[in-house]
């Protein structure tokens, strides 16, 4: 499961190594491929570690705070924390069990080095009675065989590379610097950073960078700890505890992953996706960010560089539906709490996205970074926050429905919120919106958004009795029927024999595959089959799927789009519902092969090169993988499992609460649509 790493030819002597070290390696090395990155994190922030041991991305104290290391987006100005051996011949890397502890084994010219690294998460029974740092990143290098010369370079550049730091030695406490991202970011991200451990580091470049090297022989190890504190006194656990704390972190993850009990197919891929999704969860609030990065380009030379380090209600809702299906209920409870908090100012209207604390997302700004491989701009903030996206209501209410149906409890405020959201749908569903793909054109009537409004009312009608919500059931049913009527009259093209992306348009949209998943229509309904056929004709590229026709004026953004992994995985879900299990499994396996060697997925894939495209790792893509795997787990007559059940925790559990039994005469034109709206 490893790929050889590209490397320079072994240098003839140590002096040459020293000479190479004297140069600024950031200027000399190319950008790694996106697939070369691993992610480690502490469920508050996440670091990207390249295959060659460079931490090129880390924002502190949380995902959407200004960066401390951003060489990912500017190798010269961004800052990095590098730990790697000299003379690498090849490397293998893996996560340690079902954890987010990264283990990389370097095969070097004179020996083998194993590096374990993690951001600390301690189980409740670990850590004893002692104070713990706010954030801690640990790296443990062990020489397994022969001898290896280890290099370390540490260059924090706060505020997206805009600010340098002054590194100072604090005796045996190690090296220290104040992190000040600058006034542009308020006081967000200011704090103190310590780096300490076994290696003797030296300051250079005016104290803005540390560098050191160390010869490790078989059995030797080098422990390094980086501790961060925001506005409080820094806590510095001794370097002698690095190994133990990494082991504790591994235990924390194993315990969390053990809560799933998933026994279906592709267990490793599903668990890795769950762990990655958990890594993108801000554990202090329950918010989940869409991705750990900003502005990794979707397409070379395009404008599609977006900041995904915020919590989209849609993405989070989809994710929580997956986690609920896998048995992780506490995350959903935390999200509903967070939602209640986040919407306190806008309720019953919900914004498209919030920051991890439930505050509005900052206005879009351009950072002074060249961008990944020079492909800027690097955006901070997201202008889509001001859009209207009606589908969000459906996703949130569907999540609440799943939560309640699986025994989750809601308090009075939460129930009231759900009712308010439903009322908002009843008031606004006739309005045009920007849709699931955040179209930056004048608002239009997106078919998927209308369907999600239908799903929103459907979800509330399904659970209002259980929740004791007082609503006029007849009026709500009539409203739901009116939405369906509208969709069938305007969102379906008889000429094409397919639903279309927006009213009056002729282009398909991959989100229409969800109509079957959400119980709007059965997958084998002629209209769904027609939609599937059109999607395959216009959006498919092998097993990959575009969101909408590439190169069209569908979204109003310059530059080409790449295929979208989430949509690609929706094909699997649809095919399973259609009963084409083998076809579904074939697509799933080919898509799974698109992950990097650690099982991580970006937003999309460039069909030509096969390279990952867009932000990384991307929650949406991992949600797609889990949705698809769960779909495959639900059905296969030969397995003796009934369709609609999934194998979670060794017992049957209703997987899809959607209504798969709709009849054709429910549709407009049958003359009985309104009466038969409800089964």
């Amino acid at each position: 499961m490893s790929d050889p790493v590209s490397h320079s030819a072994p240098r003839p002597d140590r002096q040459a190594d020293a000479a190479a070290l004297a140069r600024d390696p950031a200027a000399a090395e190319p950008y790694p491929d996106i697939a070369d990155y691993a992610v480690i994190g502490d469920c508050r922030s996440a670091a990207l570690v390249s295959r060659t041991g460079s931490i090129d991305w880390l924002c502190l104290p949380h995902f959407s705070a200004p960066s401390v290391f951003a060489a990912l987006l500017d190798k010269e100005r961004g800052g990095r924390y590098l730990l790697r051996p000299a003379d690498i011949l090849s490397c293998r890397r893996r996560y340690d069990g079902d954890s987010a502890v990264l283990v990389t084994t370097y095969h070097c010219r004179d020996g083998i080095l194993k590096v374990s690294e993690a951001m600390t998460l301690l189980p409740e029974d670990a850590g004893g009675e002692e104070l713990q740092p706010q954030h801690e990143l640990l790296r443990l290098a062990e020489c397994v065989e022969g001898e290896v010369r280890l290099h370390v370079e540490f260059e924090p550049r706060p505020g997206y590379g805009a600010r340098g730091v002054k590194l100072r030695r604090r005796g045996r406490l190690g090296w220290y610097c104040e992190i000040d991202p600058g006034r542009r970011h308020g006081n967000q991200g200011s704090g103190a950073l310590y780096l300490y451990g076994d290696m003797d580091l030296q300051a250079e470049a005016g104290g803005t960078r540390l560098r050191g090297q160390m010869l490790l022989r078989e059995g030797d190890c080098c422990r390094l700890a980086m501790a961060w504190s925001g506005n409080g006194i820094c806590v510095l656990p001794p370097a002698s505890e690095v190994s133990e704390r990494i082991a504790c972190t591994r235990r924390w993850w194993m315990r969390w992953a053990g809560g799933s009990g998933y026994r279906g197919p592709y267990r490793d891929a599903v668990l890795r996706s769950c762990i990655t999704l958990k890594l993108l969860t801000y554990r202090l609030s329950g918010a989940v960010v869409a991705a750990a990065t900003t502005s990794l380009p979707v397409h070379r030379g395009g404008e599609r560089n977006w900041d995904y380090r915020y919590c989209w209600l849609r993405d989070t809702s989809m994710l929580l539906q997956c986690l609920l299906d896998l048995g992780f209920r506490s995350e959903s409870a935390a999200f509903i709490d967070w939602l209640l908090h986040a919407t306190r100012l806008t309720r019953p209207r919900v914004d498209v996205m919030y920051d991890v604390h439930g505050n509005p997302v900052p206005r879009e700004d351009i950072a002074r970074l060249e961008g990944y491989r020079g492909m800027g701009p690097v955006r901070i903030g997201n202008a889509a926050a001001e859009q209207l996206q009606l589908d969000i209501y459906g996703e949130v209410l569907l999540t609440a429905r799943r939560y309640v149906e699986q025994g989750g409890e809601l308090d009075g405020h939460e129930r009231r919120l759900l009712l308010d959201l439903g009322e908002a749908v009843r008031r606004h569903w006739r309005e045009p919106d920007n849709g699931i793909w955040e179209i930056r054109l004048p608002r239009r009537h997106n078919t998927h958004s209308k369907v999600m409004c239908w799903v929103a009312l459907d979800a509330l009608l399904a659970v209002h009795g259980q929740l004791g919500l007082e609503l006029d059931e007849d009026a709500w049913r009539a409203e739901r029927a009116a939405i369906r009527d509208d969709i069938e009259n305007h969102g379906y093209s008889a000429d094409l024999g397919s639903y279309v992306g927006y009213y009056g348009g002729t282009a398909p949209d991959a989100s229409l595959l969800l109509l079957a998943r959400y119980g709007y229509l059965p997958a084998d309904h002629p209209r769904m089959r027609g939609t599937w056929a059109l999607i395959q004709r216009q959006l498919a590229s092998g097993e990959l799927l575009y969101r909408y026709p590439p190169g069209s004026e569908y979204d109003g953004v310059g530059g080409a789009d790449e295929t979208f992994l989430l949509c690609s995985y929706w094909q699997v879900d649809y095919l399973v519902r259609l009963g084409e299990y083998d076809h579904a499994r074939d697509i799933f396996e080919r898509l799974a092969a698109r992950a990097n060697d650690l099982g991580l997925l970006a937003e999309g894939v460039a069909p030509d090169s096969g390279e990952p495209a867009g932000n990384f790792p991307q929650a949406f893509s991992h949600v797609g993988l889990v949705v698809a795997a769960l779909a495959l787990a639900t059905t296969r007559e030969g397995d003796g499992r009934a369709r609609g059940d999934s194998v979670v925790g060794g017992r049957r559990r209703t997987y899809n609460s959607g209504r798969a039994g709709f009849l054709e005469d429910d549709l407009p034109g049958s003359g009985a649509q309104a009466e038969k709206e409800d089964p």
């Binding site: 009675e129 002692e130 005796g171 104040e178 006081n187 103190a192 806590v235």
Partner: protein, 178 residues
């Protein structure tokens, strides 16, 4: 003076003392609140990382939340008790109370805290690490260093300003009592 009169005078004196103590306490609470608020705001704004409640509370426990709560109570009680010293200093120091005297006393108090209290605390605190020995299993809290500069270069100014506010409030308040 009859016994009754003596008791009456005694009772009146007792009431005066009680009222004086109450007055001192009221101003002590106001001054301490002002000082701790300023410290809290400066920490929140990122001007200083000095967290006195955590420093004090972690003398007794390694649990962050318990240490912060305990430290806040200790800090508050300390602020109220020290107010009595201010009162006696103003009462018997000859200069009397007033905002200017309070300001001077507060600055002196702040200077002593930075140059004497925190360095001494560094030596006796069971959880403060040291630059000489490094971090330990228990000693893992960043030490304050000279003038608490380890907690940010603005820390001495913030600490002096907070104590100056404390002294000024006490000086002005006690002037009303005297």
């Amino acid at each position: 003076m009859s016994e009754t009169e003596r008791l009456s005078v005694q009772a009146a004196m007792d009431v005066d003392v009680a009222l004086a103590v109450l007055g001192i306490l009221v101003w002590a609470v106001i001054a301490t609140l002002a000082m701790t608020s300023l410290m809290f705001i400066s920490q929140f704004r990122g001007w200083s990382r000095l967290d006195l409640p955590l420093l004090l509370g972690s003398l007794f426990t390694g649990d962050r939340e318990a240490a912060s709560l305990l430290g806040f109570l200790l800090n508050f009680a300390g602020g109220c008790l020290i107010a009595f010293l201010y009162y006696f200093a103003f009462a018997f120091g000859g200069s009397g109370a007033g905002w200017l005297a309070g300001l001077v006393a507060g600055l002196a108090h702040g200077l002593v805290s930075l140059t004497v209290f925190l360095p001494v605390l560094s030596h006796i605190h069971p959880r403060l690490a040291s630059e000489h020995d490094g971090a330990g299993v228990r000693r893992r809290l960043e030490p304050p260093g000279f003038l608490a500069l380890n907690y940010g270069y603005r820390t001495p100014l913030v600490a002096l300003a907070a104590h100056a506010v404390y002294g000024t409030v006490l000086g002005a308040g006690f002037r009303l009592l005297m």
